[in-house]
């Protein structure tokens, strides 16, 4: 399956400046692992050392909170869109 991953600019710099990445995998976690393998420094910001999501980086699968659809285990389909939203606190 091929999905599109949207990154905020703060993470895009760890993916050679790409705001949008194509990734493949049967699940959200596999798609994240795909980009984490291609961009190891980005990978460190997307998943912890055990490969689990951080509590301060959320994933939205077609604009729905992935945590309520199985988290990294959520199955994805061709054309799905994933938005990565890390916590920010500036004001």
């Amino acid at each position: 399956m091929s999905v599109t991953i949207h990154l905020p600019s703060v993470l895009a710099r760890l993916a050679d400046g790409n705001r949008v990445l194509e990734a493949s995998g049967e699940t959200l976690g596999a798609a994240v692992l795909d980009v984490a393998t291609r961009f190891p420094s980005l990978g460190e910001r997307l998943r912890d050392q055990e490969g689990n999501p951080y509590p301060f980086v959320n994933y939205y699968l077609n604009d729905e909170d992935a945590r309520f659809h199985g988290g990294f285990g959520a199955s994805v389909r061709d054309g799905d869109e994933v938005t990565v939203v890390p916590a920010i606190a500036g004001g």
Binding site: P8, P55, F56, I88, A89, G90
Partner: protein, 382 residues
């Protein structure tokens, strides 16, 4: 509740609201009756408080402990050049009173803490979160959940922002969105990472819009939705949020009182001032070493765009992210001094170099800012 009457002055002032079909006199009287607390008189607090005051919110509270700094003026439009050094709430009071003398202003010149938050927030109908750090965001959230006050949230970083409405009876809270904060130091603050000056204008005005809609009781507020704003792509995206049944604040309700938020967010004096185990050199000591023409490597670990602002004589640029790669080509037996803007990245650089076997490495304490203060003011602070 009986809504307050509008004076003839107020009727004229708010006429563009009064002729809006969904607002009218009753909506404006609701605004006059409303009590809204703005936490933070900075980037977000400035535009949102100005619009809330101009719109006619009857009772506006503001909390802030800070003084106006020259670096604030690029975005904090409540304050002017003549206000530098004054308490932010002093300039806020003057500016807001001028914007609308009908608004009752209440200012709390204090840091919002677990000890005072419930007392300050109690009695307000709405809280608008314009704070600039994770600890205060969790504090504001938990206090709002405990008191049952909606929390109009906004947050910014560099070119992007987020907004939502939390802690309503039906919707999620900030902890439903992010159960835990990132480790201290992982996400840079605006002071470290920069922020586009107009961005808090965009997000703050969205917060003000949400607050006013909630008071009027019209439209679809951002309850259960997170608005993501990308100023560079000028894209607005909304993702759906859900109330988390396991949320310790609004779900299980195991948070029955305010906690130590600095500890929760891992904020310690160490993360603010640098690790005390890292060897340091003061600006005066470094200047003396340069003056004696001592043989050592001076490495600037900032980013190229910061290097372009100003640098120390004899330094070479090796951004922190590339340091480990560059360390391979350096001689670990040579003395090394590293520096950054304020000393935090320098301390990280020292630890990285130590891991690569460098044992004569020190961090310029206070970074280029303290160098400018103590040695050479022609090197600009930023």
């Amino acid at each position: 509740m009986t809504l307050p009457e509008l004076s003839s002055d107020e009727i004229l002032r708010y006429s563009r609201h009064l002729i809006l079909p969904d607002v009218g006199v009753e909506g404006q009287r609701r605004l006059k009756a409303a009590r809204v607390l703005v936490v933070g008189a900075g980037g977000l607090g400035s535009p949102l408080a100005l619009y809330l005051a101009a719109a006619g919110v009857g009772h506006l509270g503001m909390v802030d402990f800070d003084a106006v700094d020259l670096t604030n003026l690029q975005r904090q439009i409540l304050h002017g050049t003549a206000d530098v050094g004054r308490p932010k709430l002093a300039s806020a009071r003057e500016r807001l009173a001028d914007a609308n003398p009908h608004v009752q202003l209440e200012t709390y010149e204090t840091r919002l803490t677990s000890a005072n938050a419930l007392e300050i927030l109690r009695g307000y109908d709405l809280v608008v979160d314009g704070t600039d750090n994770f600890a205060t965001r969790y504090l504001v959230n938990d206090a709002c959940v405990l008191l049952g006050i909606p929390n109009v949230y906004g947050s910014i970083f560099r070119f992007e922002g987020q907004a939502s409405v939390f802690a309503t009876t039906e919707g999620p809270c900030y902890r439903c969105l992010y159960r835990e904060p990132p480790p201290a130091g992982l996400v840079p603050s605006c002071a470290e990472g920069g922020v586009l000056g107009v961005l808090p204008g965009l997000i703050g005005v969205i917060q003000a819009t949400e607050a006013i809609k909630l008071i009027f009781g019209i439209g679809q507020p951002l309850i259960g939705r997170l608005l993501l704003v990308d100023a560079l792509g000028m894209e607005f995206r909304t993702v759906r949020l859900r109330r988390d049944p396991e949320c310790p604040a609004c779900g299980t309700r195991e948070i029955r009182e305010l906690i130590d938020y600095e500890a929760f967010c891992g904020v310690t004096s160490e993360s603010e001032t640098g690790d005390s185990s890292v060897p340091v050199v003061t600006p005066l000591e470094l200047a003396a070493r340069i003056g004696r023409r001592e043989d050592f490597d001076l490495i600037d670990v900032r980013e190229p765009h910061e290097w372009a602002i100003g640098k120390l004589p004899g330094a070479r640029l090796v951004p922190l992210g590339t340091l480990e790669e560059a360390a391979v080509a350096l001689d670990p037996t040579r003395p090394v001094v590293v520096y950054c803007r304020a000393g935090i990245r320098g301390a990280k650089a020292v630890r990285k170099l130590q891991e690569h076997g460098f044992n004569k490495v020190a961090n310029l304490t206070g970074g280029i800012i303290r160098w400018s203060d103590e040695v050479d003011p022609t090197v600009p602070k930023y």
